[in-house]
Symmetry: C2
Subunit: 350 residues, 2 copies
């Protein structure tokens, strides 16, 4: 390690002198600007290497008022479907010389608030997030006072903010219609807290599909409150223990399918013989399950690219006009996990 350094750190002036360029050019190389000729960049990089010059990010950030970093708060990092979002957002940001730093809130309110406060204190130049905490009270205040631009991910609140959100309503409407068309009349929808767009939107689509056919949805079979996979497991277990259990379940959250499948297995039920299943978002699990699971899908990469572009517009070009709201469309992909329900005589399973 280089704990033992030369007695005095080399300066940017020394680098510039050795490379025979201006200090501004050294700064542009260090900051990865795109307007530096390759030969010049090479000379500066060689001088940096020869002198062992290390630009100090803290000093640089004070000088330039920029961290060249965007913060992203995710509920969990290992949700399979977030990979497409993160890698695309990162690519778009990198093209403009920005890094993406990710933090894990575990969906906990105090952690979300702490991360936002830390971002507020100058750690990043912009924030991408979809808070798990409903946007009211303290959370709303912190977001309003955030000193850097913010783009909301899959949230339609607050209204003054740029947002990229998914048309869960449309996809859930198609999925529910498909099940109703197969003859299901006891369809369960599991989804997250009703203060959040993805839950509200899915319930709207679910109810809309019922209304279109003049069928009343069964309110006891709409279970909202959490997007967590453990909640999906417990909620599914409870539904499957009802004397008249549902004949189909829609997992209304990107990380809920595994909980639903585990509960169905625990109850010894077969898909689709005993129960039909629909997932939100395509994944290895939905694809490789036997039978493959029907999916309400959308392009997570489109969410990532759009959100990163909107944020860069604010950071680099300082856009200040009306907030922009982008709705990402959904599709429904029926698969062998959905079949007509058994007749009433056999509805309780074998």
């Amino acid at each position: 390690m280089t704990r033992e350094k030369a007695p005095r750190a080399p300066t940017i002036r020394e680098v510039a002198k050795l490379a025979n360029v201006s200090t501004g050019t050294v700064s542009r190389v260090v900051n990865d600007a795109s307007d530096v000729k390759p030969a010049v960049r090479k000379a500066v990089e060689e001088a940096i290497a020869e002198l062992g010059y290390v630009p100090n990010a803290a000093a640089k950030s004070m000088r330039m008022g920029r961290t060249r970093t965007v913060g992203c708060i995710l509920r969990e990092i290992n949700i399979a479907q977030l990979g497409g979002f993160v890698s695309t957002a990162q690519n778009v940001l990198n093209e403009s010389g920005y890094a993406l730093l990710i933090s894990n809130s575990e969906g906990r309110r105090e952690r979300e608030i702490k991360l936002l406060r830390s971002f507020s204190s100058g750690q990043v130049d912009g924030v991408l997030m979809g808070p798990y905490t409903p946007i009211e009270g303290e959370m709303e205040e912190i977001l309003r006072d955030l000193p850097v631009p913010l783009v909301m991910i899959d949230r339609d609140q607050p209204p003054w903010c740029d947002a990229v959100y998914v048309d869960h309503e449309g996809g859930t409407r198609l999925a529910t219609s498909h099940l109703l068309g197969l003859g299901h009349r006891r369809i369960a929808l599991l989804t997250g807290p009703m203060g959040l767009h993805p839950a509200v939107s899915r319930v709207r689509g679910f109810e809309g599909a019922h209304a279109e056919r003049g069928i009343a949805p069964l309110p006891d079979l709409i279970v909202s409150g959490s997007f967590l996979r453990d909640h999906a497991y417990r909620a599914t277990s409870a539904l499957l223990s009802l004397s008249r259990r549902p004949t189909a379940i829609i997992a209304g959250g990107i990380d809920m399918l595994s909980g639903v499948l585990r509960a169905i297995r625990t109850h010894g039920l077969a898909i689709p013989g005993d129960i039909s299943v629909i997932a939100s978002g395509r994944s290895d699990l939905s694809d490789l399950h036997q039978p493959p699971i029907a999916v309400v899908g959308w392009e997570q990469s489109e969410v990532g690219a759009t959100a990163a572009s909107l944020l860069l517009d604010h950071i680099i070009r300082g856009r200040r006009d009306e907030p922009r709201r982008v709705l990402i469309p959904t599709t429904f992909d029926p698969q062998a996990s959905c079949a007509p329900p058994r007749g009433p005589g056999s509805a309780e399973g074998p």
Copy 2:
């Protein structure tokens, strides 16, 4: 948003005066030190809120020489098994007042190097990573010159560095023995680049289990070079197209199972009737697949907790003695995805 601020930003002195404490106490509250009494913390936080004081992280970091942030470079964020690693590491760091920031290298050499350079320039106080680039040449130099402490994750190089790595050799030896005991003689091992510990270690266990029984492994069935799921798909497809295809496959990487399963499905083969399968690391996919997939497993949370503790020792207590190397044990969990191979007459499938 607060682009329009008060003409002059409040200072730490004004906060201290209003809260009737010293500036040192304000600083300790801002930096989340644990030795501040709740009542004092509350008074300071109220003064901060009243005045709208925003500590500047960049200025703070220059004053204190600390960012209170640890950087972690992952190959991909959506590898299911990394969730346990990240959340545990984050919890251990948070208890000491440090945040964990994650960056995605996509396993690309130039991105790993760029992220390390950016970390070197004062962005973080320490680094957790397992480079995908073999630790030699430029990568070795950058790691050696890193001005902050480093703990390697699942790498046994470089020798001067603290490292937490997994005993893939032991688990792969158990898995291979299990398959040999069932009568398999054409076992394939897919794994990553031979410059990296997880690949080297798995090959050693694979060859060791063969040697124990006096059986020669078939070198053509050891496919190394990449841990990526797409590589696993292509390598499995190639193996299944051989005139004498393997009767069992070990997916020797935490993100390779989905590629192996896709290729087996494309070839229309049944598990375990036509081919036995073993995964590295338990996941929703290994658990919920029908049949469940046998797994070489270990505690990712133990990797995360150990690595974070070692790093904090360096950052907070400035440890400078011999590097510490921690080996995390593995287990083998046989499942219905492994069965005896069919007789030679039916080895080509139905």
